[in-house]
Amino acid sequence: MTENISLEVPATLSALSTVRMVLGGLGARVDFSLEDLDDLFLATDRLLEAALDAEELDSLRVLVIVDGTTLRVTAGAFSSAELRDQVAVTPGGCIDLCILLQRLVDDVVVQEEDGCFTVLMVKQRSERVA
């Protein structure tokens, strides 16, 4: 059974704290480790900061789907081609937004819709080795 949580916060850096708290609560519910959460926080922060830099936004919309031990975080819709490129394309060998997201979450998908796009980040709970 999945659970959807929608969030709309002001398009400001200080609002990212609210997003982190919500993600943290949901991550705790599916037993994410501190490290899993930290990675998800950083990925979300970087994506939303880049969005704030790239375009004029009134608010930031974030949809979180809790699916078993996985969080699916969708941010947007955005319209900046520059932001799309930052998320989707990397020349390789440098720490750009694309590389950051790829390393911090399990999957990143740019979803096109009506001339805009959203960014889906999928983070699964780490396997317990010990």
Binding site: D36, R46, G93, C94, L100
Partner: protein, 312 residues
């Protein structure tokens, strides 16, 4: 025998010509924690070296350093007095900071004391170094203030969480969950999340900052006063052509970013390799990325980190 060897043998003030003293440094290095708790400096020598001998050796090494610029004498003094630093740092270890961090900060005070020591004043180095070391540690606590008002309860929980995380990671052999942290810290998961969030309002002293609290390109950063660097730092540097943004990072920051984003190591794995806590790795990654962002813009036009292998 080369010229350098001849000079050492013929130098009447050479450290090697003082029987037993070079060996004493090695012995200090090998001392365990138990020995350190009872030893507050070189004057309390477990091998029976007398206080007078210690003072003579101190004065000898100080003269070597201040009159002849002998860096080895300086290093020997630092090594000899590290037990004093550890002893003083231990007094402040219950305040929520890592003991090793306090030792490093205290070592900066020791180095300042050695560098500023005035041979003509006739005081013992222990007497002069102790207030310098304590002062440095106190300044560290003073500078690590909260940049925004955070309720005391959350501050205390944050400090408690740092300790709990350090205890749980080796015990669980993995990063703990929020629920595990909450249980161990006797708090609710919501309180844990709130405390972790507020920790972003906690200032930390930049290792790039001048120990004098001033900025300036010629000033050495605190990082320059800290312990030896892992050889892998240089190996990484050798293999990688660094982008200008990376030049603003210190070697450890570059190394950690390299491990996280190019080698794909987790924070815990990096923590183990570098010898710091996972939380510290997390903070360093954030801080380093922030520096990069400031340096090269918002990562939209990043300069390439090319492997030298690519150029061949």
């Amino acid at each position: 025998m080369n010229g350098r060897d001849e000079r050492r043998v013929n130098d009447p003030l050479d450290l090697e010509s003082l029987p037993g003293q070079a060996r004493h440094v090695a012995d200090d290095d090998e001392e365990g924690e138990g020995a350190e708790t009872t030893q507050e400096g070189p004057s309390a020598d477990p091998e029976g070296r007398g206080k007078d001998d210690s003072e003579k050796l101190d004065q000898y090494l100080l003269r070597r350093y201040h009159l002849y610029g002998d860096r080895r004498a300086r290093e020997q003094l630092i090594t000899m007095y590290l037990p004093l630093v550890r002893s003083l740092a231990r007094r402040y270890a219950s305040r929520g900071e890592h003991f090793d961090d306090l030792v490093q900060v205290g070592a900066i005070g020791l180095i300042k004391a050695i560098d500023r020591f005035d041979l003509s004043r006739g005081v013992e180095l222990t007497t002069y170094a102790t207030p310098n070391i304590v002062g440095e540690i106190k300044r560290y606590f003073r500078d690590k203030g909260w940049s925004v008002r955070v309720p005391r309860g959350l501050q205390e929980l944050n400090i408690r969480l740092n300790k709990v995380i350090d205890e749980l990671v080796p015990k669980l052999q993995r990063s703990p969950t929020i629920n595990e942290l909450a249980e161990a810290a006797n708090a609710t998961p919501e309180e844990v999340l709130e405390a972790l969030e507020t920790s972003q309002a906690y200032n930390s002293v930049s290792l790039q900052a001048s120990p004098n609290g001033e900025s300036g390109e010629e000033d050495a950063g605190l990082i320059d006063y800290l312990g030896g660097e892992e050889e892998a730092y240089d190996t990484m540097e050798d293999r990688t052509t660094l982008a200008p943004g990376f030049a603003k990072l210190d070697k450890r920051e570059r190394y950690i970013l390299h491990l996280r984003f190019f080698e794909g190591l987790t924070q815990s794995q990096i923590a183990e390799r570098v010898g710091i806590s996972q939380m510290h790795v997390s903070r360093l990654i954030r801080r380093s990325l922030e520096k990069l962002r400031e340096e090269i813009g918002d990562l939209d036009n990043p300069l390439p980190l090319r492997s030298s292998d690519d150029e061949r």
